[in-house]
């Protein structure tokens, strides 16, 4: 944010009532996260929850590029490395287990001609 805007915000904050300042403080104590990237607060003592630090970005970038090539197949990945693919989930998973990556990924890419999905409506 430009410095001039910060000064403007600070002036407005100074005009808040005590109750409004408390609300602002509560709001600011929440960690800000955009697209999975957490803003870690460490210097001012605000503790954030422990979240998995696994970064999906390389895998999602790979998927965006190659999704059409593997439509209708199960895929096994380690980050942005394709370890196995095919229509038999058990074979693909066996190959994933053989590689034993630190954070494995197993998923299915829908075929392009598959019917649109209905909500699962799963009930207990």
């Amino acid at each position: 944010m430009p410095a001039a805007n910060v000064v403007k915000v600070l002036k407005q904050v100074a005009m808040l009532t005590a109750e409004e300042k408390r609300e602002l403080l509560a709001l600011m104590s929440q960690p800000s996260v955009t697209n999975g990237v957490s803003e870690q607060e460490t210097e001012n003592g605000i503790a954030t929850e422990t979240v998995s630090s696994y970064d999906h970005t390389p895998r999602l970038r790979w998927l965006k590029q190659y999704v059409a090539d593997y439509a209708g197949q199960y895929i096994a990945m380690d980050g942005d490395k394709l370890l196995a693919h095919g229509t038999d989930p058990e074979k693909v998973f066996a190959e994933l287990q053989r590689h034993c990556p630190p954070v494995p990924y197993f998923g299915y890419i829908p075929a392009t001609d598959e019917s649109p999905m209905l909500g699962a409506n799963l009930t207990l």
Binding site: M77, E90, G119, L124
Partner: protein, 133 residues
């Protein structure tokens, strides 16, 4: 009347025809597995593939057995306590894992996930807003 809700997360999801898919990480003990899951307000529970559970070294059949009903029939699943991290927000919950291999879609449903969060959607813009309660 106008209602204003604050959210800590804004996520732009892909415009796929088969639902709102977000990347998630499941953890149990020191095991982690990456997956994609559909946000599904119509699902009573969170459901993941058998393979995701096995990757977490879970003994799938030792979990809480539940037959899950759906529009197209029933599906056997077993509940296990795991941590779901989605878009930087972690929720420790009971998630279900399919008995049979090859589940094609993982689901983030109400029990365990939606009920722990505040969520808003602007589907026209492919935007999902999330915050933990």
């Amino acid at each position: 009347m106008t209602f204003l809700l604050p959210f800590a997360v804004e996520h732009q999801y892909n415009d796929l025809k088969d639902g709102i898919t977000i990347p998630v990480t499941l953890s149990s003990g020191n095991q982690e597995v990456a997956a994609d899951a559909k946000v599904d307000t119509g699902s009573a529970v969170c459901l993941f593939s058998r393979e995701a559970g096995l990757s977490l070294k879970l003994d799938i059949e030792s979990g809480l057995y539940k037959p899950l009903g759906s529009l197209t029939g029933s599906l056997d699943a077993y509940g296990h306590e795991v941590t779901i991290t989605a878009l930087g927000i972690s929720v420790h919950c009971l998630a279900y894992f399919a008995r049979h291999p090859g589940l094609q879609r993982n689901l983030l449903g109400r029990q365990g996930w939606l009920r722990a969060l505040r969520m808003s959607l602007v589907d026209y813009e492919n935007k999902l807003y999330l915050d933990k309660l």
